[in-house]
Symmetry: C2
Subunit: 713 residues, 2 copies
Amino acid sequence: MILSALITSVGINFGLCLLFFTLYSILRKQPGNITVYAPRLVAEGKAKEGGHFNLERLLPTAGWVRKAWEPSEEDFLSSSGLDAFVFMRIIIFSLKVFAIGGIIGMSVLLPINYMGSQLTDDSDFQHKSLDSFSISNVNNGSNRLWIHFCAAYVFTGVVCYLLYYEYGYISSKRIACFYSSEPQPQPHQFTLVVRGIPVPPGSTCNDTVEQFFREYHPSTYLCHSVVRRSHKLQSLVNDADKLYKRLTHLKHKNDAPKRQRRDGCLGLFGRKVDVVDHYERRLGDLEDNLRVEQSSLATKEVGAAFVSFKTRFGAAIALHIQESVNPTEWITEKAPHPHDVYWPFFTVSFVKRWISRLVVFVACTSLTILFLIPVAIVQGLTHLDQLETWFPFLKGILRLSVVSQVITGYLPSLILQMFLSCVPPTMIMLSSLQGYLSCSQIQKSACTKVLWFTIWNIFFANVLSGSALYRVNIFLEPKEIPRVLGEAVPSQASFFIAYVVTSGWTTIASELFQLTKLLSNFLSRIFGKNGDVDFEPPSIPYHSEIPRIRLFGLLGVTYFILAPLILPFLLVYFCLGYIIFRNQLLKVYVPKFETGGEFWPTVHNSTIFSLVLMHIIAIGIFGLKKLPLASGLTLPLPILTLLFNEYCQNRFYPIFKDYPAESLIKKDRADQNQHNMSEFYDKLASAYNDPALIPVQYSERSDSNRSPLLHSS
Amino acid sequence: MILSALITSVGINFGLCLLFFTLYSILRKQPGNITVYAPRLVAEGKAKEGGHFNLERLLPTAGWVRKAWEPSEEDFLSSSGLDAFVFMRIIIFSLKVFAIGGIIGMSVLLPINYMGSQLTDDSDFQHKSLDSFSISNVNNGSNRLWIHFCAAYVFTGVVCYLLYYEYGYISSKRIACFYSSEPQPQPHQFTLVVRGIPVPPGSTCNDTVEQFFREYHPSTYLCHSVVRRSHKLQSLVNDADKLYKRLTHLKHKNDAPKRQRRDGCLGLFGRKVDVVDHYERRLGDLEDNLRVEQSSLATKEVGAAFVSFKTRFGAAIALHIQESVNPTEWITEKAPHPHDVYWPFFTVSFVKRWISRLVVFVACTSLTILFLIPVAIVQGLTHLDQLETWFPFLKGILRLSVVSQVITGYLPSLILQMFLSCVPPTMIMLSSLQGYLSCSQIQKSACTKVLWFTIWNIFFANVLSGSALYRVNIFLEPKEIPRVLGEAVPSQASFFIAYVVTSGWTTIASELFQLTKLLSNFLSRIFGKNGDVDFEPPSIPYHSEIPRIRLFGLLGVTYFILAPLILPFLLVYFCLGYIIFRNQLLKVYVPKFETGGEFWPTVHNSTIFSLVLMHIIAIGIFGLKKLPLASGLTLPLPILTLLFNEYCQNRFYPIFKDYPAESLIKKDRADQNQHNMSEFYDKLASAYNDPALIPVQYSERSDSNRSPLLHSS
C-alpha cells in the first residue's frame, strides 16, 4: 500500500464517520427514534416519546458529546455499574498506552525507520510504500536498531506500570462498590448453589439439604429452595407471559376495530373473532396446562439447591470449605443474582458437568482453529465460473461487469462478515452448555472464547497470510516461531493499518448509529407492529465488544516497534470509542447484571499476551536484521513480563475471585445496624424460587405480580 | 548384551543378596549391633543391649522375615503411621501392576518378540542377544504388532484401575486416621501460621494479631504466639543442649580416670583438667550468652505468628477465607506439628518468599538439566594420560595394570555415584530455602525434585545415550519426540535390565545391611567413642527412597511392551523391597512426622507420567515398525489417560489438601465430649513457643525439662 492510498482511505472513512455523526445528531432528536437512541432513558422514565416539532430538530448538533463527556467517573459508576465502568477503563487504559506509545513511536521510531535505506523505494513522498515507515526499511545490522530495542523495554515498562495501576484501581473500586453498594442487602451475597446432593434412598432432596446444613452449619444456615427440572414449564410460562403482555396492551389501547382478526392460518382466513376474547381463551388454556405441569414438577428434583445463610460470612464459610468427604458431592458455588440465574441448563451430576465442559472445550478449540476452512470453501463457491456451471441460467447476468465486480469483490468479505457475526452467539451457546449457573458467567466465559477466536482468526490468520492451516505447523516447532513471526508480521503492517481505519472507525461509528435497530424501528412503525409491547432496553454485549477492543489493543502493542504509523489511527479509534461508548452506556444500554468488574482479569491477561507476542516478534526481527545480540538481550523481556503477570495474579486476582473475610464481616455488621434483617430473611426465603413454579393467576389479576421478580434489577 | 551375560550378572547379584541376607541375619543378633539394626525398638524400650552368648547367635536364620511379614496392615498402620503405610502401598501397588504386566508380557509378548526375525541373530540360544526378546525383533509391518497394541490398551486400563483403587483406598485411610487418630487433640490441627502481618507504626505485632482476630474471628480465636528472629539463638541452644547431654552422660558414668583431659589443641596439649568441671564452666558461659540473646530477642518480631483457635473448624475457616483486602497480607497456612516446625528460615514478606521460590525453581531446574556436565568433566579427569601429566610422580603406579583398570573402570562410576548421593541433601537444602514451614513439607517438596532429577538423569540421559545435552534439542521439536524416543528407548533395554539387577537388587539388600552405619558403629565401639550419647533413631528418608522406587516403576511401565523381559527382575526387586522395607519400618525407622499420606499424589502423578511416556514411545515405535494405523490408534490412549488423571485430581486430590467440614466438625464434637478441652487450651497456648526462647536452666536442674517439648512425637 502506498501513502496516498492510505490517505484516500483515511479520507473516505473519516467522511463516513462524519456522515454517521451528523445523521445521528439529527435522527436522535426525532421522537420516533427515542427507543433506538435512548431506550435506557425511556425505561427509566427519564425520556418520553412525542413532543412538538421545531427546527432545531433538523440541525446537527454536538450536544450529545458534551452530555456524554460531562458525568464524573463517580456518577458514571453509580449510574451504569462497575462492569460498564471497567469497560470504560479498558478504553482509558488503551488511550494512555497508545498516547505514550504514539509519542515514542512517531517522534523516535518513525523518523529512524524512514531514514533507513533497506528497501530501495525511490518514488516521491506521496507514492512511498508504507513499508518505508516500518522497521523493514532499517538497514540490516544497523546500530539504529538498538533504539528499537530500548523502545521495546521502555514501552513494556510503561504498559506494565499502567496495568499494575489499573488492576489496583479497579480492585479498590470493586471493594468500594461492595461496601457502598445497594440500599438493601442483596440475596445473592447470602446464598450458595449446592450441587451433587447425595439423596439417600427413601428421602427427598429437600430433607437431605435441611438435615445436612442444620447439622454442619447450625448457626448460620437460614433456608433453602430445591431446584427442579423445569425445562418444559419454562417455555410454557414464557408463552403465557408474552400472551398476557399483548393482552394487557390490547385492552389498554381499547380501539375496537383493530381487535378483529380471522382465526385461521396467519390470521388471513377463517371466521372473524374478537382478538381479546381469542387471546383470553388461549391464556386460559395455557394456565391450565401450566398448573398441571407445575403440580407434576414437585417430584422432579435434580439434586441441587439454593441454600441461604444468615450472614455473608456464613455463606463464605460454606463456600470455601469442602463440605463432604467425597469432593464430588455437596459442591458449593456462589449463587448468582436471582434474575441472573440461568435456569434451563441446570446440569447436576459432577461427571455429566465435567464431560460437557470437556466437549465444549473441544468444540470451541476446533471451531477456533478450523473456522477458516468452511469460510474459504463457501468463498470459493463465489468464483464466477463455478457459479456459472452451477446456475447456468445466471450466465447472462454474471457476464455484466458490475455484477461480476460485486460478486468477486464484495461477496467473499460479506460471507466472512456473516460467518464472523455468528461467532459471538455460537460462543454464548457453547458457554451455556458448559454448565454455568448465571447469564453473567456465561457471558464472561464467552468473552474469553471470542477473544481467542478473534486473535487467532483475525490476527494470526492474516499474518500467516491466508494459508494459516498450512503454516500452522510452526506452532509445533517452538524454535521457529520467532523467525516466522518476525518475517510475517511486519509484512502485514499496511493491511492492519488499513484494517484499523476501515473496520475500526466504521464499526465504532455504526455502534453509535445503530443502523439495524433504526431500520427495524422504522419498519415496525410503518407496518404498525406494536413494537413497544415487547420493548425492552438492550444490554451491552460485552462478549463481542471487549474482544474487538482488545484486538485493536493487540495490534497496537505488536506493531509498536514494527510500524508505529498504526498508532495515531488507533488513538483516533480509542478517542471515538471513549465518547461513543460513554454515550451509549448512559443512554442506550441498561446494566442487566453485575459481575463486579470480573472482566478486568481477562483484559489484563490478554494485554500480557500481546506484550509477550511483541517480544517474540522482536526477537525474531532482530535476528533477521542481523543483530543477534539484541535478539538475545530481548529474551529476558518476556520472562520479566510473565513474572510481573505472576505477581499481579498473586496480588490482585484473589480480590476478583471472592470478597475477603474483612469486607464480608464489616458489611454484615453494617447490615445488622442499618436494616431490618428479619424482613430481609423472609424475602430471601422466596428469592430463589424457580420463576416457572410461582402459582399462575393471569386471568384474575389486573397487574402482573410476577414481573417484579423476573425483571427487578 | 547376550543372554548368558545376563544370567551371569543375575547369578552374581543373587549371590551378593544372599550374602547380605546371611550376614544380616547373623549380625543383627549381636548385641553390639542393636543400635544399627533395631534402633527403633531400642528407642521405644522394646529391645535391650547385652544378653548372654549362645550358639544360635552365629547361625543365619530367617526369623526376621516372618516377623516383618506377620503384622496385619492395621497393626502396621498404627505402629508406623500413615506415611509409612503409604510407602508400603507404593510397593504393593507396583507389585500388583508388574504381576499382571509380567503375566501378559512373559506369556504373550515375549514369545511373539522371540518368534520375529527382524534382527538376524543366528547364534544359539545361550548367545542370543537380549534384543531378540524385545520388540525390535518383530518384523516391520507385521500384524503381530497389533497384539502389542492391544497389550498397551489392556495394561493402561489395568494400571488406571489400580491407581483409582489405590487413591480411593489411601484417601479413606487418611480420613479414618484423622477420626481415630490420637488419644489427645493435636495442637497443629487447631493452629494456623499467619504471615505478612501489616504492623502499623507505633504498634507491635503481638497487639496487631490480637486485635485482628478478636475483631474478625471473635468466637473461635483462642491465642497466638508471635515468631521472632531466632537464628543465632538456635545455634547457641543446640550447642548448649549437646554439651548438657555429654555432661550428664559423663556424670552418669562416673569413672574418674577418663574424666581427665588436656585443655589445649585437640585435647592433646596443655595442662590436665577435669572434664566435668571444664564442661560445666563452658555450659555456664553458654547459658549467660543465651540469656543475653533471649532478652534482646523479644524485640525482633518478624511479622508472623502462630494463631490457635478453639476448634478445628474455626481454624479451617480462617485458613480458607482470604482475610484481608490485600491478598499479600494476613496470609494463612496450616501450622505444622510443633516439633516439625522448621524455625531457621522463617522468611516473612510475601515478595521475599516469592523471589526465593523463583530462585530455587531456577536453581533446581538448571541443576537437574545440567547435572551431567560437571560429572562428565570430572570423569574426564580420570583418564590415565591426563592424570600422568598432572601428577608425574604417579607415573610408576599408574602403569600397573591393576591400578589402571581400577581407575578407568571403577573411578568414573564412583564419581557419578558420589555426585548422585549429594543430590537428595542438595534438594532438601533448596526446598528449605523455598520458605516451607515444616520439615515434612520440605521433605515432600524435595521428594518431587529428586524424582524429576532421577527420571531425567537416569532415564532420559541414558536413553539419549550420554549425549543428552546434544539431543536435548528434540524437546524443542515436539513432533519429533515419539520418533526419537521410539528409536532410542528400545535400544537401551538390555542396559536397564542389567540396571535393575545390579543397582536395584543391591541397593535394596544394602538397605537391609546398612553397611555404613554398621562400620561407624563398629569403629566407635573400638575407639570407645560415646556413640550412645547422641543416639537418635533415624527416620526414613522418603525424599530419596520414593524417587528410587518410582524410577523402577517408570522403567517397568515404559519397557512393558518394548522388552517384557525386564518385568520378572522388577518383580523380584519389589518382593525384596516389600519384606525389607516392612522390616526396616518396624525395627529401624521412627516416624518423625506425619503428612497424612500426602506423598501419594506425587506417586500417582509420576505413574501417569510413565503411562503417557509409554504411549508416546509406542506411537513412535509403531511408526518406525511401519504400522502407521496402530500408531494413529494409540493417540487416544494418552488423551484418555490424562482425562482419567484429571478426574482423579477432582475426585481425590481435595481430600489430600485439606480435611472437609464434615470431618472437622465431627472430630470437634467428639473432642468436646471426650476431653477436658480447657486443659488442652492451656497447653495449646505454649505449644508454639520458639524452643530457643524457653528460659534456660541447665546448671540447677538434674533432668532436662526442655527435651519433652523438642522431641515429643
